[in-house]
């Protein structure tokens, strides 16, 4: 798939979602997997836009690239916002607490990492790179190989 570059603003979430859903369809992911991937990318993209750019008083773009191979769909999302590694955040330990006692943060990263088959973060120069990997259904990969 062609890469997608969008502005690092909340208006871009719609375009990001369309791109991810299209990639999921191309990769043959089922509805549930497509939703989980869309949610994961949306959560990280939202954090980039709100915390990485807006709250840090920075402007920049968000670059997405979807790659499909025999077994996986990989979405990478890059930005030039402040250095932020989602993997370094602690898993919320308060999921059993009443919601009115919960802090507002942490849920997005949790949903993102839990929702995909593999998640990685890299810092490349001055860029954050978040990588989401989903396994393709076995029937799709068998069909391609035959």
């Amino acid at each position: 798939m062609e890469p997608l570059t969008v502005a690092g603003t909340l208006d871009s979430l719609s375009a990001i979602a369309k791109y991810v859903v299209a990639a999921a369809a191309d990769a043959g992911l089922d509805k549930k997997a497509s939703y989980r991937l869309r949610l994961a990318v949306d959560e990280i993209a939202s954090n980039i836009i709100i915390h990485g750019y807006d709250e840090a008083c920075l402007d920049g773009d968000v670059d997405l690239q979807a790659t499909i191979d025999l077994k996986t769909l990989t979405i990478s999302i890059e930005d030039t916002a402040i250095n932020y590694d989602p993997c370094a955040q602690e898993t919320p330990d308060n999921l059993d607490k009443p919601i009115e006692l919960r802090p507002h943060g942490g849920l997005g990263v949790y949903l993102a990492i839990q929702g995909v088959d593999k998640f990685m973060y890299e810092r490349v120069g001055d860029r954050n790179r978040n990588i989401f990997v989903m396994n393709r259904p076995v029937t799709e990969t068998v069909a391609e190989g035959s």
């Binding site: 909340l10 549930k32 949610l39 959560e43 709100i50 059993d96 919601i99």
Partner: protein, 106 residues
């Protein structure tokens, strides 16, 4: 992306009907409706999610806001939620703080 939140308040029940996609760019619309709810003589908040196709953590944060605004003695009902939206509520433990039903009254 398209999202609407419509409030109806009758007696001690406030019902907000959500439709479309609830994410960080649209959660403010939902929050505005919560802020309009009059909390005098108020017992139940009903969230009709029958037409809600997608919900991100921004939607969950509005639920936290609602619970904090209304107090823990107000019950929040989530009705007609689609499977994948329910999945998010369950993964994050929010299903323990709201009453999930097919319809209201049950």
């Amino acid at each position: 992306m398209a999202f609407t939140a419509t409030l109806e308040q009758i007696d001690d029940v406030a019902k907000i009907t959500l439709s479309g996609e609830l994410d960080a760019s649209t959660a403010g619309i939902f929050k505005e409706e919560i802020e309009k709810v009059s909390t005098e003589n108020f017992k139940h908040l009903v969230l009709d999610m029958g037409d809600l196709e997608y919900m991100a953590s921004a939607g969950l944060r509005v639920l936290i806001f609602a619970k904090q605004k209304m107090g823990s003695y107000v019950d929040i009902y989530v009705i007609k939620a689609q499977e994948l939206v329910l999945d998010t509520l369950e993964k994050t433990g929010f299903d323990q703080s709201v009453i999930i039903q097919d319809d209201y009254p049950g």
